[in-house]
Assembly symmetry: C2
Homo-oligomer: 548 residues x 2
């Protein structure tokens, strides 16, 4: 065996600012285990990008070594890239029943149902995946059926918390499995990859139950319909809204394909425990008196194409907002979505609806551990080394500060960026090489061919626009044989810029008269100065010189 083969290598991949959020690679000798296959949504200056997947080029050379793919829970940022991964890598997938259900809905939509086998595991199970013995440990989050992982390797036991919170009264009454975590500690944990999302929040994250009084208030006071917007995968929120509807005598309907499909699947699997008589199809709901109905829909992030987004802009086909409607946004804006959520709320108010959102009422609560829970997790699992993951660099630093406040030495906490290989051998942690581990843009049907160069062009076009000049000249006299054709986009309002364009024509004629050598370059330079002088802006400039 080579020296390299005796090391355990852990590599956080993908994410956008966040580290090890969407994918993590465990490698020992010739065997690889992949944890999660998630996507991220673009930040607001990533122009035109649909979504972002982890750069998993590293795995492509080693695709035969991948023994399995484990998905910790059913949220998009852990599952959303599954169809990109299964196209490249043929390995068994492991997930709990709800996560499996959500993966299968996703694979079926992409026409890939046959392509990948999802093996059902349950919290408490142990599965040998190549050299890795993976134990699944139930944790609470904002979706049921989440697992942390205890991964026993020849180098030692590594715990991956997944996304978690320590909720003593979760909606499904299934608290985090402290016994299992303590058992890991008893065996000795070499390293823990720990969720850092809320590392800058003091105290404990409140239980999911705290939102019940807020929903009761909404249901008590609403005079007409109630529309609750949240993520289609937030199954426990759907359960809570259903329970409120039962308490207050309203029927419940699901609006939109993703909400309907997920709810159906979750109900079949028993994760949504609501009586059949509570649920009505949407067209029936629309015929009922408004005060007898609650509609569950998507759009809590202000996405223009979602139900709530379309209601806010008055472009929903099936039904419109009523002035007596109460719209509840039951989620926090994902970073980068704050503006779009604010605008949506304003537009809903503008259309006469009453809008309820956090912080006006406590209609949402985080699914991630806060500082005191992170301390609890560290003291419970007692890892020798901590690798803070799931968070931006600043969150990893705060997680590290928390560990240090518990007595961890600085050297026992690895703050790394995506693609940094962390190696373990002889019970010690070392930094390995840095591999490409960033993100890949998905835009239309293209995966990865939109890189920084194209993004820079889009940014420049977005800020200043462009000017296109098409000339026909007599090559001998260098005189125009036709009026120049000038097209601008994103630069000035062309119909009101006669003066600017007339002056541009004069500049072209003057430059032609004086020019020698490369006409095109001289014209472009001249026009660049000209436009800057007149507008203090710098559009892209293209001059086509056609000789007659």
């Amino acid at each position: 065996m080579s020296k390299k083969a005796q090391k355990l290598r852990i590599i956080p991949l993908g994410g956008l600012g966040e580290i090890g959020k969407n994918m993590t690679v465990f490698e020992y000798g010739d065997e690889i285990l992949v944890v999660d296959t998630g996507i991220m949504f673009p930040e607001s200056d990533m122009l035109g990008i649909d979504y972002i997947i982890p750069d998993f080029k590293y795995l492509l050379d080693k695709r035969d070594k991948v023994k399995g793919i484990v998905i910790t829970h059913g949220h998009e940022d852990h599952t959303g890239a599954i169809h990109h991964v299964v196209e490249q890598i043929n390995a068994p997938i492991y997930a709990t029943p709800l996560t499996k259900g959500l993966l299968e809905v996703k694979l079926a939509r992409g026409g890939q149902s046959g392509k990948a086998k999802v093996n059902e595991i349950k919290a408490g199970d142990t599965v040998q995946i190549g050299v890795f013995k993976v134990e699944f440990c139930h944790v609470c989050h904002s979706i049921p059926d989440c697992v942390a992982l205890g991964i026993t390797t020849p180098a030692g036991l590594v715990v991956h918390t997944g996304d978690y919170k320590l909720d003593h009264t979760p909606v499904d009454n299934w608290p985090t499995d402290y016994t299992k975590l303590a058992e890991f500690a008893g065996r000795g944990v070499l390293a823990m990859l720990g969720d850092s999302t809320n590392a800058d929040r003091a105290g404990w994250t409140p239980s999911e139950r705290v939102i019940e009084p807020a929903f009761d208030k909404v249901f008590r006071e609403a005079k007409g319909r109630i529309l609750v917007a949240t993520f289609a995968s937030l199954i426990s929120r759907i359960q809570q809204v259903g329970e409120a509807a039962l308490r207050h005598g309203r029927k419940m309907a699901f609006v939109g394909t993703s909400m309907r499909e997920n709810a159906k699947m979750a109900k079949q699997l028993g994760y949504l425990d609501l009586p059949d008589e509570l649920l009505v199809p949407i067209d029936e709901a629309l015929r009922l008196p408004p005060h007898e109905v609650v509609l569950m829909c998507t759009g809590s992030q202000g996405e223009p194409s979602s139900i709530v987004g379309r209601l806010a802009s008055g472009t929903n086909r099936q039904f419109d907002l009523l002035p007596t409607d109460t719209v509840v946004l039951s989620s926090h804006p994902i970073p980068g979505n704050e503006e779009s959520v604010s605008r949506t709320i304003n537009k809903l108010f503008q259309r006469g609806a009453h809008v309820v959102y956090d912080p006006v009422e406590a209609v949402h609560v985080s699914g991630h551990a806060s500082q005191e829970e992170m301390k609890f997790m560290l003291n419970l699992v007692k890892p020798k080394y901590l690798i803070p993951v799931h968070g931006e660099l600043r969150h990893l630093h705060q997680h590290a500060a928390i560990a240090q406040s518990l007595g961890y030495a600085k050297d026992n906490v690895a703050i790394v960026e995506n693609g940094q290989v962390i190696e373990f051998s002889a019970g010690k942690m070392f930094m390995g090489e840095r591999i490409p581990g960033g993100h890949v843009f998905v835009d239309g049907s293209s995966v990865g061919d939109i890189g920084p160069a194209v993004m820079r062009e889009r940014d420049a076009l977005a800020r200043e626009g462009f000017v296109l000049v098409n000339l026909r000249i007599n090559p001998q006299t260098r005189k125009l044989t036709r009026e120049p054709e000038i097209i601008t986009r994103g630069f000035v309002y062309q119909r009101e810029s006669d003066e600017l364009l007339a002056e541009t024509r004069r500049q072209i004629e003057k430059t032609l008269a004086e020019a020698n050598g490369d006409l095109q370059r001289q014209l472009e330079n001249k026009l660049r100065d000209h436009f800057f002088d007149m507008t203090k802006r710098k559009p892209m400039i293209f001059v086509m010189v056609n000789s007659n």
Copy 2:
């Protein structure tokens, strides 16, 4: 006197989502009083826009009727458009000493010192401005020397709160003037325009003093230099950092022109009360041992061109970050800046600095009243009518809900958008007409010529880019006489798109062979389909057909 002349008209103008934030017009008969002349910063999808000013076209026809311009305090969103206004409207300006100082720094920079006269007033003063008797009432905010206004008109007394909080222990020890507000109430207040910024925050906004322990902790723990980033106009924060520096034996230096100029002016006017021996020039500060220095600089919003922005990207000329530096971001992200602030924090960590920011430490506190303060203000001033201002529509609705919880009838609260005229006559409120009262984009040297059409073009370019095809054909044979010239920007990475471009050439030849009639249009349509088929994207397409 016409019927119209007997009415008081109040018109909130400008703002971006926020209502009546940047400018408010009071009109009675033939006389107009303008309150504030502020700017807003563009939201993240307002591509290439420098800043935004209120649309005050309404005033241009009536410019001779404007009797005065009152500025409530020195923040950009209340002062920043002053040079645009004085270019169009010649009327005396009134402001308290610090606000006057900040206005004069601003006018001098724009070369307009001579153009506008700023009259100094003090809280407690009364000034007759045309038909309007304006009484200035001290209020607390996050900058010293702020005033609310009591405006006595023939139609009644109207109170404009300006930006305020009810801070009992402000940094300048000058609490809000409750006596004056109560006196207004005693005389009977027809209407109040009330700050709604924090209408969705429960409780009381903490005093500015609460940040002192957080700063003491930072100063106690910092091993090297401390850099505090905030707004250059946040004079009271500069005072607090100076006091902390005194307590902990550090020297203080101001970095950057705006910070230096504002601090100098505020010190001269007595609003910054710091001993001379505390302050050192920046080059001297850079020569001192790091643990003896605190640097005040701009960049708390992550602006790439600010000192902190340049330190984060490693492009600051005068000095670099040191690994022992502690950077304190002492402000909240303005809505829309969240991403840029997060990235800056991450980059500072990446460069090895220790970064302190809210919520990790309480190094910032809001300058606006929360819900309980709003209730207090309503019960103290006792206006008959409330016009919630300074906030997005959702905040105005929350402010209205607060008023209703105090017993205000729905009809006595006017939730309006910018440009909605509110009329008062015979002690009653009526809705008048709606005038253009939105915002105007400033981009380079152009004010207002970037409208929705250009913004749509920029957005399209930003999302999909463009393709430019320059053809030379024989008009008789319709055959190419030269290889087509194809240029793309923001669409695909041209150097890696040989196949796409080769196929594009084939499509052009095919279309030319089959086309009849408008060649250009047929080519553009054909290429649109072609690019969508191949990429699922829709770039802008321009085809130039040059006949030979």
